[in-house]
């Protein structure tokens, strides 16, 4: 199944059996173990999306609600992965819908740049510094969109992210960039 060793599955199975009986300590250990597996799985599938932690929480909630549907005579991993995969697909679907509805900012918010060459050099240096302060994934997406002039679709393909993901990350990156540049003294 990837991400869960047989020994770990055995341990989680025992914890799940105890959790179904209402053992809070076992449940604490179970959720702790599952949280790591879910986080790793979400990261591998989605990359560093801003809503990754929401998916992790949603999966944990779903496991809690569906815990009575696991039969202790059946293996734990297929049940767990089915719940997790289902929540992940739902989350991707929701964010795709949001991405389609939202108007992404395809250009950096208009900045009134100074006309003199000296001022332009200073502005470029500040922009580069602001870019360095962005989250790596935001920097990557903005660079690929603006410097390499790729389309959202191309960036999505290149990074393995969904198009809506790329749009959301770019949108947040632009907003962060705007804040950083405003803080550096530029007028809009």
């Amino acid at each position: 199944m990837g991400g869960m060793s047989p020994a770990q599955e055995h341990e989680l199975t025992l914890l799940m059996v105890a959790s179904q009986k209402g053992d809070a300590a076992a449940y604490d250990a179970l959720l702790g173990g599952l949280r790591g597996v879910v986080s790793g799985y979400v990261r591998r599938r989605l990359g560093s999306v801003p809503w990754g932690e929401d998916v992790v929480q949603d999966v944990l909630f779903s496991i809690h609600r569906a815990r009575h549907t696991w039969n202790p005579e059946r293996p734990f991993a297929p049940w767990f992965y089915a719940v997790m995969q289902s929540r992940l697909v739902d989350a991707i679907r929701v964010h795709k819908r949001i991405g389609m509805r939202e108007e992404p900012m395809d250009v950096v918010p208009p900045v009134v740049w100074s006309q003199s060459p000296e001022a332009e050099t200073i502005a470029q240096a500040d922009l580069a510094q602001a870019m360095r302060q962005l989250a790596p994934v935001q920097r990557l997406v903005i660079e690929r969109l603006k410097l390499a002039e790729l389309t959202v679709k191309q960036v999505a393909k290149e990074t393995g992210m969904s198009e809506s993901n790329v749009k959301v990350i770019a949108h947040r990156g632009y907003a962060a960039l705007k804040r950083l540049l405003t803080g550096a003294g530029y007028d809009h």
Binding site: S19, Q20, K21, G22, A24, Y27, D28, L31, G32, R35, E53, V56, Q57, L60, F61, S62, H64, R65, A66, R67, H68, T69, W70, N71, P72, E73, R74, P75, P78, W79, F80, Y81, A82, V83, Q85, S86
Partner: protein, 223 residues
């Protein structure tokens, strides 16, 4: 809410739960509900007067076999899909549809034979009474099956709801076979088989959002 807070909340709300029985066991439970409730309602509505004679005919026997198969296989599929991680092979998914398809094909063959004998075989009557009977007979088994599916955690909700609707429609069609004395094939095709085809389609399109809504409320009320 942070993930740590979510984990703490879940631990605080932990209550002992009884694992759901295996889908096969639940299928037998539903079968018992169908047998008792379906038969009771069919008897209350009135069995067809020529039942003994009709039961001896090949057509009636074929209809019954196909309908029982479609109902049982669809009910089983719905209950399997209610459990995350349970595998429902492509063959098991197609089997109920194939059984229902066999019944419709059988009826079409009957129609072709009847039409070759008399053009009157094409005449269409109004059989809303049969649709009402089917709904009445299937109501309780359908509600029971949806509750049973909802007690699970279906991952493929649309498929689960569609199979549940097919199973419920099968119960209704089967009940009508035992209560409606009409043997005109067009009547059987339109008023007996029609709802069985229409209901799963309607359920897949309109029933799924309603079922999801009900599931969310049901889940919210669950500890």
């Amino acid at each position: 809410m942070t993930t740590d807070e979510v984990v703490s909340t879940l631990i605080r709300n932990l209550k002992p739960v009884s694992p759901l029985p295996a889908p096969g066991v639940r299928m037998w439970a539903w079968g018992a509900i169908v047998a008792v409730a379906g038969s009771l309602v069919a008897v209350i509505l009135g069995l067809r007067p020529d039942l003994a004679h009709a039961a001896a005919t090949l057509n009636f026997q074929a209809h019954t076999v196909f309908l029982v198969s479609a109902t049982a296989l669809a009910g089983d599929a719905a209950l399997v899909l209610a459990i995350p991680g349970e595998q429902l092979s492509r063959a098991r998914q197609l089997a109920p549809i194939a059984a229902a398809g066999c019944w419709v094909t059988w009826l079409l063959m009957e129609l072709a034979a009847a039409a070759s004998r008399s053009p009157a075989a094409w005449s269409i009557d109004f059989g809303w009474g049969c649709v009402a009977k089917a709904v009445t007979i299937a109501a309780l088994p359908a509600a029971a099956l949806l509750l049973m599916v909802g007690r699970g955690a279906p991952v493929e909700v649309r498929h689960a709801v569609t199979f549940a609707a097919l199973a419920a429609a099968g119960v209704g069609a089967l009940g009508v076979e035992f209560t409606c004395p009409k043997t005109d094939v067009m009547h059987l095709l339109i008023w007996h088989a029609g709802p069985m085809v229409a209901l799963p389609v309607v359920a897949a399109v309109a029933g799924t959002p309603l079922f999801l809504l009900w599931m969310r409320r049901h889940e919210a009320a669950r500890p």
